[in-house]
């Protein structure tokens, strides 16, 4: 398996760097399926005859494993190079589906936890960070845009997986609209076949990424790009900090806090999007004016906002700076939450616009993080540092739903409430974002005592990528 080694993936002179984003996207579009698990959730509840929580645990395990594997495998990913790590991610992600399928076919839920949750979750974590540092090395002139492109794929993966899974489930079940109707729920057998099919498709698509990823040659830089210009910006270092030292800095934990609060606040809307829009718009007789199908359209629009925000805001950060863009995510996000809380119920257009902008900031926060880390800590072990930062996502994945569900439970049952019932939870999100805004303003350049002495700028030029 020597072809997986970093040395075998070195790009030849003249290699076109625009071949790298599709290779990275091939991985992120596949692992982004994790956001589309709701498609077969009801089918699994019926198949295993268990509660919503028992099925929700599958996704929770996967997200926790994403954070843990990214944190603990980050240094290995950095050392092994993108090709080997993407291959390992493809093996874990693909086999996670296959083991999950075995669990569905044999009626053993623990196998689905082990397969999709544990094994697949490891694939998620390794796959998420694998191409990121490589992309930043290929696009040192536009690192935000480069990482935005890849991480956009994670948001876009659900947009593909959701309709694809529905179409496959209907095919496997022999769906007949005249017989099955609007309330059709797929059989467990169809979900098992779906897992088998997705496992194979995703493995093959990810192999395209494995075969086509390249690392730039030592000392490579884009033609016509003057890397000495980055010296003029105080918040962008030309020095390097190791992953072990990065977590000892105040900057890392401020960024961790910022990402944690931004993700937690985003989950506030994502978690309750469908019942929330129905509760906000009710006729005088108490019946919602928003049907379930229209609410599903709103959820889809949020997915597009999430994906677009990852690319657009992260690209914009190359121009206006990382610190300022995070202040925008958190500051403007807080204002939009206030507007949503007090005026959202008055206009559908205003409600949708505020929600989509908030979710675009949520996505932007994810996509801008690697470029911010590169600015603060250099490229030396930025992938490993990114992996450690993603534990904030895992923590938010637990804290966000706990906060939102806890506050909403005190108000009533989502889907039967009014706009006013959402005010406490929305204002809580405002408070979280304000704290995040303050944390963001406190980020300063990393102290020189944390820099790697043998990797100071002059030496780095020789060591290259």
């Amino acid at each position: 398996m020597n072809w997986l080694d970093r040395s075998r993936s070195l790009a030849p002179p003249g290699f076109n760097r625009w071949l790298i984003p599709p290779a990275a996207l091939a991985v992120h579009l596949c692992i982004g399926q994790a956001y589309a698990t709701s498609v077969y959730k009801s089918a699994l509840i019926g198949h295993f005859d268990v509660s919503q929580t028992a099925i929700g645990v599958i996704f929770s395990i996967a997200i926790v494993m994403l954070g843990l594997s990214a944190a603990f495998m980050g240094t290995w990913v950095e050392r092994s190079g993108p090709r080997k790590s993407m291959f390992v991610a493809a093996c874990f992600w693909g086999s996670g589906f296959l083991v999950g399928a075995a669990g569905i076919f044999t009626g053993q839920l623990w196998l689905v936890y082990l397969g999709y949750g544990f094994i697949g979750g490891i694939g998620l974590g390794i796959g998420y960070i694998s191409p990121v540092s490589t992309l930043m090395k290929w696009f040192p002139d536009r690192p935000g845009m480069a990482t935005g492109m890849a991480i956009m794929g994670f948001g876009g993966g659900a947009l593909i997986a959701s309709p694809l899974s529905t179409a496959l489930l209907k095919t496997f079940d022999g769906f007949d609209p005249a017989v099955d109707g609007a309330n059709w729920i797929a059989s467990g057998d169809a979900v098992g076949k779906l897992f088998l099919t997705l496992g194979i498709i995703y493995f093959l698509v990810m192999l395209y990424g494995v075969a086509n990823i390249r690392v730039p040659a030592p000392g490579w830089k884009p033609r016509g790009w003057d890397d000495t210009r980055i010296r003029s910006t105080a918040m962008v270092t030309r020095s390097h900090v190791s992953a072990a030292n990065a977590i000892k800095t105040r900057q890392f934990w401020l960024l961790w806090t910022v990402l944690f609060l931004n993700v937690t606040a985003g989950i506030g809307i994502l978690e309750q999007a469908s019942p929330m829009i129905q509760d906000f718009f009710r006729a005088e007789n108490g019946v919602s004016t928003v049907s379930a199908a229209v609410a599903a359209g709103f959820v889809g629009l949020l997915s597009i906002g999430n994906m677009a925000g990852r690319f657009a805001w992260s690209s914009a950060s190359d121009v206006i700076g990382r610190k300022r863009i995070y202040m925008l995510y958190l500051g403007a996000g807080a204002v939009f939450y206030v507007v949503l809380a007090f005026f959202g119920g008055g206009s559908m257009l205003l409600f949708v616009a505020m929600a989509v902008l908030i979710i675009s900031f949520y996505g932007g926060g994810f996509a801008t993080a690697p470029a911010y880390l590169k600015d603060l800590f250099g490229t030396f072990q930025v992938g490993a540092i990114h992996g450690r930062l993603l534990t904030a996502w895992s923590a938010a994945g637990i804290a966000g739903p706990l906060i939102v569900n806890g506050l909403l439970d005190a108000q009533g049952k989502p889907g039967t409430m009014s706009a006013a019932n959402y005010t406490p939870v929305l204002l809580t999100m405002v408070a979280l974002l304000v704290i995040g805004f303050v944390a963001s303003t406190l980020v300063k350049p990393v102290d020189a005592k944390f820099h790697e002495p043998e990797l100071e700028p002059a030496a780095t030029a020789m060591k290259g990528a």
């Binding site: 290699f15 625009w18 599709p22 794929g153 033609r223 229209v294 597009i304 949708v352």
Partner: protein, 59 residues
């Protein structure tokens, strides 16, 4: 590298250079088209499918 890809090289920078990596960029059009199509086509399918449901929001 295919002949077609070799022909797609950008013209060499004038004046020559001592930097081994400052060489013309291989545009690799076929590989580029295939790669972007592989990731772009499903993404466009997903966006169009989703947008088709979004229209109902404002009806």
């Amino acid at each position: 590298m295919s002949t077609q890809e070799q022909e797609a090289f950008e013209p060499a920078a004038s004046g020559g250079t001592s930097d081994p990596y400052d060489v013309p960029v291989d545009r690799a059009p076929l590989r580029l088209a295939f790669g972007w199509l592989l990731v772009g086509a499903p993404l466009v399918y997903g966006i169009i499918t989703t947008l088709s449901r979004v229209g109902q929001l404002f009806q």
